[in-house]
Amino acid sequence: MATPLTQKHPSRFYTDESPVGLNRWHRHLPRWLGRFFPTGGGLQTDHEGQGLFGFGIFLGSETMLFGTLILTYVILRIANAEDWFPAGVLGPQRTPAVILHSIVLISSSFVIFAAERALGRGNVKWFRILLVITALMGAFFLVGEVQEWNTLDFGFHTGLIGATFYLVTGTHGLHVIVGITLMMIMLWRSFRPGNYDKGHFGVTAVSIFWHFVDVIWILLFTLFYIW
């Protein structure tokens, strides 16, 4: 029920405070927003927090890039629903090989998660082993994808299906390559003394990036192989 106006709140943060109370909203909204943006010089040395924030908003930007490419595919496919596949072209097929390398890529997310956990416990040896396994799984995916491209019955110049398929999956493949490269850098860094004195933001960022790449692949698999 309504709180008496005279009640003194013990805390600065009013949990039941509405951001857009009609009464004095111009004071309520700033207070409410201010909770998410604390100030203070102490934060200036929080390398991990700053790094993850910057990396997070960059991934937001990346999402818009992939979103635009995928939207292009969806819009063009809907507009050309009847003759999307030229005569004699079956399009991307859900062969066992494709399903296998997709499963390997997606399960590698769990491996890198385990690697990050190992590093969190201070177990650098297992971190390195699991990181290498993740990278190998990514490489397996890439090899499988290139082999699949070689057996497909359409090429880059086969109309819209070829252009959209190879551009979108190619952009994703490029991100897989970048992810593997970043893992190798993290592996190299783990041998430098004193590398984890300021936390392991780099590893966390690579891990998030890898999850991002995997989620994109789930989306692409749905749109290209199941639709």
Binding site: L29, G34, F37, Q44, F53, S61
Partner: protein, 558 residues
């Protein structure tokens, strides 16, 4: 200089030691990969000013061609190149990078941070931008000439002009804009992180200067909308060089899709330019009226609201195309909404000036001039948001007049205002008032003469992007061209003033304008290590005038 009663300083004022140099000691610093945000800002500002002069020369060539109805100065193809490269240079090589440079320089000073969050990324961002900029200028010397399909570069026209040639002007143009986009995203990541993480204790969201609010909004918009343009240009690059059919109607592609993606970014980018300029107005007008900014919180929220509104207005650039009726109606309504936050700002600036004692120094003249010009730009903007008017004047000089009132008469004026205002922070010296006022007079008269006749010409039916026109339209074209040459000449007193004042101007001291804001507690020029100790902010922003009249309770922890 004006006689103003000094105000209590915001924090402990830092004095420059006699032996301590400013941050900028050797011109060679400009050529290095420097992680200092002030040097990066200076690199951005100086290089983009050079590009501004090049873009201005192209504009004067365009106006020289339009002096007479016949085609007599350049060829038709080169005329297309002229307006394409004029637009591209002014947008991608001048307005955006100059504002990024200003933000780089001022933002950490205004929020009490030692530097941006990712200094290396910041330096990398400049050199990526600079590579792209040089690429764009070099494209003039390719065998087929620079890009000539407009700065919007619509297919199929843009795909025809250099098909399959990796070194065509169009292809290099695309690469250059892509590089600029990557640099902008790096910068945006940096600025948003800096504002969220690096604010000094006590610098709460609603104690940030409006310039910081504007930077936060504009850079968030870059993060959200710029990747869409990047993806769009990648698709166009593949169409142009590798023959993919994304925008090719014959093979099932859709050129209108390009336009949607293009304007989905390129409308918001207008606010990326103008919001920091609004921020500049909001800094300068209170300082020279000695009044607190009227309705500070509302102005801040109006600034942020642009980021939301701008996501839903892009189709108004495509009213005249094959746009369905419901879409026209919807986007007409959303475009009208833009007038609300803009109106709030104009109202706030007017109310700030109301019943105050005006100090018409050069920076203030430029700021007030910019506000007045923006009012005119806004009126024609609301006119153009109405579909019937838009269809009537579509593709005429009315539209050219409208957007030059925004980009030149408001934004460039605001940038000059900022230069005159913050010049001491870079150089330690003030710019000369007399030359500044000459500059302002030339600029104001030149801008009006150049761009006001374009509205009349547009209503009379003068089509844009065409190098020859009906003879009965010549009178206003001559006025416009002469105005453009005056506008070109107006840069000269500015350059002379800037160079001479840099070496021999009046020594400014920490706070020549008696302005509030953390950057004025620092010495001029700013030393390399700005804040020795992290400052604590205890005041609301724009705490001018009677110290008893404050906007809100200073003891409020928020």
């Amino acid at each position: 200089m004006t006689s103003i009663t000094p105000l209590e300083p915001l924090g402990p004022s830092r004095e420059l030691l006699p032996t301590e140099p400013g941050f900028f000691t050797h011109w060679q610093q400009l050529l290095t990969f420097n992680r200092d945000h002030k040097i990066v800002g200076l690199q951005y500002m100086l290089s983009s000013f050079v590009f501004f002069l090049i873009g201005g020369l192209l504009a004067m060539l365009i106006r020289a061609e339009l002096l007479t109805p016949e085609l007599n100065v350049v060829t038709r193809q080169f005329y297309n190149t002229l307006f394409t490269m004029h637009g591209s240079i002014m947008i991608f090589l001048w307005t955006i990078p100059f504002l990024v440079g200003m933000t780089n320089f001022l933002l950490p000073l205004m929020i009490g941070a030692r530097d941006v969050t990712f200094p290396t990324l910041n330096a990398l961002s400049f050199w990526v931008f600079f590579t792209g900029a040089i690429l764009m200028l070099v494209s003039f010397f390719t065998p087929s000439g620079a890009a000539d399909s407009g700065w919007w570069s619509y297919p199929p026209l843009s795909v025809q002009s250099g098909f399959g040639n990796l070194f065509s002007g169009e292809s290099i143009w695309l690469l250059s804009v892509l590089l600029g986009g990557i640099a902008s995203i790096m910068g945006a990541v940096n600025f948003v992180s800096t504002i969220v993480w690096m604010r000094a204790p006590g610098m709460t969201l609603f104690r940030m200067p409006i310039f910081v609010w504007a930077a936060l909004t504009a850079q968030t918009m870059q993060l959200i909308f710029l990747p869409v343009l990047t993806a769009d240009l990648i698709l166009l690059y593949f169409d142009l060089n590798f023959g993919t059919p994304f925008f090719n109607v014959a093979d099932g592609g859709d050129p209108v899709l390009y336009q949607h993606f293009f304007w989905f970014y390129s409308h918001p980018v207008v606010y990326v330019w103008i919001l920091p300029v609004f921020g500049v107005f909001s800094e300068i007008i209170p300082a020279f009226t000695r009044n607190p900014l009227f309705g500070y919180r509302t102005v801040a929220l109006a600034t942020a609201s642009f980021a939301v509104i701008t996501g839903f207005v892009w189709v108004h650039h495509m009213f005249a195309g094959d746009t369905p009726g419901w879409m026209r109606l919807l986007f007409m309504a959303t475009t009208g909404l833009v007038a609300i936050p803009s109106g709030i700002k104009i109202f706030a600036w007017t109310a700030t000036i109301w019943k105050s004692k005006l100090h018409l120094d050069t920076a203030m003249l430029f700021a007030v001039g910019g506000v007045v010009m923006f009012l005119l730009a806004g009126i024609t903007g609301v006119m153009l948001s109405a579909v019937p008017v838009d269809l009537h004047v579509n593709n005429t000089h009315f539209v050219v007049g409208h957007f030059h009132y925004v980009v030149n008469n408001t934004i460039v004026m605001g940038l000059y205002a900022a230069i005159y205002f913050w010049f001491p922070k870079v150089t330690g010296r003030l710019m000369a008032e007399g030359w500044g006022k000459v500059h302002f007079a030339f600029m104001f008269i030149g801008s009006t003469l150049t761009f006001f006749p374009m509205h009349i010409l547009g209503l009379q039916g003068m089509v844009r992007r065409i190098s020859s026109y009906q003879p009965d339209l010549q009178e206003w074209n001559v006025v416009s061209s002469l105005g453009a040459f005056l506008l070109g000449v107006s840069v000269l007193p500015f350059i002379v003033n800037a160079i001479v004042s840099w070496k021999h101007g009046v020594v400014a001291g920490n706070n020549p304008w008696q302005a509030t804001g953390l950057e004025w507690t620092l010495p001029s020029p700013v030393p390399k290590e700005t804040f020795e100790a992290t400052p604590t902010v205890l005041q609301p922003p724009y705490n001018y005038g009677d110290p008893n009249v404050v906007l809100f309770d200073p003891s409020d922890p928020y």
